[in-house]
């Protein structure tokens, strides 16, 4: 049977970047205010909410895709391996397949209970897989939209002994690595890093000219958007036939020993009081000065 390949592979002579992109599925972050806590306070429940790709992972996946393609010629020029960690269920598989449909070459699911995972276990798993796969880059989201921890990527780098650049907003392929601009609180830092390395990204990585890989022409601009690309329907169907491997923690020789433990969850106290609609600037200033005493 003829299988049309819309993105044919580049000849072997090209230096092919190989990137590992970990993906977490999270309760729909656009509706995070609808998550609930179980009556005994031991669990967060997201019943009624769809699973979605962690948006921070989605940005990093977008950057990884831009690093491994000639967008002008719509050709894939490198390899992306998606890594999911968690239960082998519908929500997980749909999330990972949608990442494959966007262009990643293959996927790995490491089966594990969500409850047995924390940033340190996740980092151990990712380091182990990186040792096996020897990618040029492990490209993570800087945080997850549920735990909001900002920790796993950094620990992964330390386990591997690789350099790490957090919060990348601009990436240019340079000799043996990248020149990266990243956001710190005090300004924008420029860092030069060699592969293999660990990267995380920041919001601005979705800008039209944030990634220069030396293959897509430098003057090519990705669409103005604050969202990553979406996969066309036909690619979602095709993603089901991409190479996919399911493995266990045991097979990696990893014991899921967490370093932190959550004992209680609760909903934050609601903001007290109603919204007062004021009719004019004068009334607003009067209320802020006279009632709230904040100006």
């Amino acid at each position: 049977m003829f299988d049309a390949e819309p993105f044919p592979e580049e000849e072997e002579s090209e230096a092919r970047l190989k990137i590992l992109v970990p993906i977490k599925r999270v309760a729909d972050p656009e509706n995070a205010n609808k998550v609930k806590v179980s009556a005994d306070g031991t669990q967060v429940t997201s019943e009624g909410l769809e699973w979605a790709i962690n948006p921070f992972d989605e940005w990093s996946l977008e950057a990884a895709l831009r690093l491994t393609e000639n967008r002008a010629e719509k050709k894939r020029t490198g390899e992306i391996i998606i890594v999911g960690i968690g239960p082998n269920d519908d929500g997980m598989m749909r999330t990972l397949r949608s990442a494959l449909a966007k262009g990643a070459e293959r996927g790995i699911l490491v089966e594990a209970d969500d409850a047995s995972l924390d940033s340190s276990v996740v980092a151990k798993i990712l380091a182990k897989i990186a040792e096996k796969e020897s990618p040029d880059v492990v490209f993570l989201g800087k945080q997850t939209a549920d735990g909001d921890s900002n920790v796993a990527g950094t620990i992964t780098a330390e386990h591997l002994g690789w350099p790490l650049v957090n919060y990348a907003t601009q990436i240019t392929v340079a000799d043996g690595g990248f020149t990266i601009k990243r956001e710190l609180d005090t300004g924008v830092q420029t860092v030069s890093v060699k592969t293999p390395c660990v990267l995380t990204s920041s919001d601005r990585i979705l800008h039209p000219s944030s990634v220069k890989n030396g293959i897509t022409p430098d003057d090519f601009a990705y669409p103005e958007s604050d969202h990553a690309r979406t996969a066309p329907l036909r690619d979602i169907m095709k993603a089901k036939s991409k190479p996919f491997e399911t493995i266990t923690l045991d097979s990696l020789g990893i014991e899921a020993e967490t370093t932190v433990e959550y004992t209680q969850f609760e909903l934050p106290p609601a903001r007290s009081g109603e919204t007062t609609y004021v009719e004019s600037v004068d009334e607003l200033v009067q209320k802020l000065h006279g009632d709230a005493k904040v100006i």
Partner: protein, 321 residues
Amino acid sequence: MDVLVIAELLEGVARKTTHSAITFAKTVAEATGGAYDILSIGEGSAAAADELAKFGARKVITAEVDGGYLAESYAPTVAANAEGYAVLVATASAFGKDLLPRVAAKIGAGVAPDITGVNTDDGLSYHRPMYAGNVMGTMKVKTDVQVVTVRQSAFEPAAESGAASPVEAGATADRDNAGQIEAVGIEVVKSERPDLAAADVVVSGGRALKSSDNFKSVLEPLVDALGAAMGASRAACDAGYVSNDLQVGQTGKVVAPKLYIAVGISGAIQHLAGMKGSKTIVAINKDREAPIAQVADYFLVADLFDAVPEMTSAVDKLAKS
């Protein structure tokens, strides 16, 4: 429990972020009968140490690390000074979030990231917002040494107190990944306005301001009339109206001022995560149904291009009266 505070230096001066980590250290040390020290690390560590010595620490330790900030050059030196401490803490700025997990992995410690509270009744347990601030988790760190980053807006900055702490030179260690990563430079953003994460009043603008010029001509006069810090929504930063370090939200700065004024900001969940801890919240928006109403105490339904200049003169008048 003895606590080591990792100070955040910029050009030889300790940033204010450090003062929140000191407050945490003081709280834990006092409740557990321990002491707290401060590590002044980076370029100009000795000069910064003289300032840091005013905060009542048992001692201030200096460690000069050159070459611009990189976790790869700082983490080994932090680890070399960490022995004997039960808790290492920094503030959860980009610096703290970047550096401390690397230190934690080096010494085999668990991390309590971006906490907003600590309970000292039975060991240490930490409170922290999750799900963009829609769930509060209580957690413990199970390892012998605990690594903590504290949310700046949740811990009052420490005040200077008592006699000067002794300053001593600490250990330094070779950097990691030499030849594999270098800090080329940093474009430091300087502002005369108060620091966003520590300001009493914050005025933030959204995409509705439509341009960088409008931020300058319409919003900034109100910001300055109130002596406020200026913030922005992700959309406004993405559009390039203001620099990215002004972003308030889940992926930007988290602020909790006495007064937060959201101008032309609809109030996406990711933005609310960064400001809903503010004491009084004002929304100025054309759309009275905008999600920002969920958290606003006062809502003025108006065109910002009329309302903001009018408010600026009203505030000026108030200041003169």
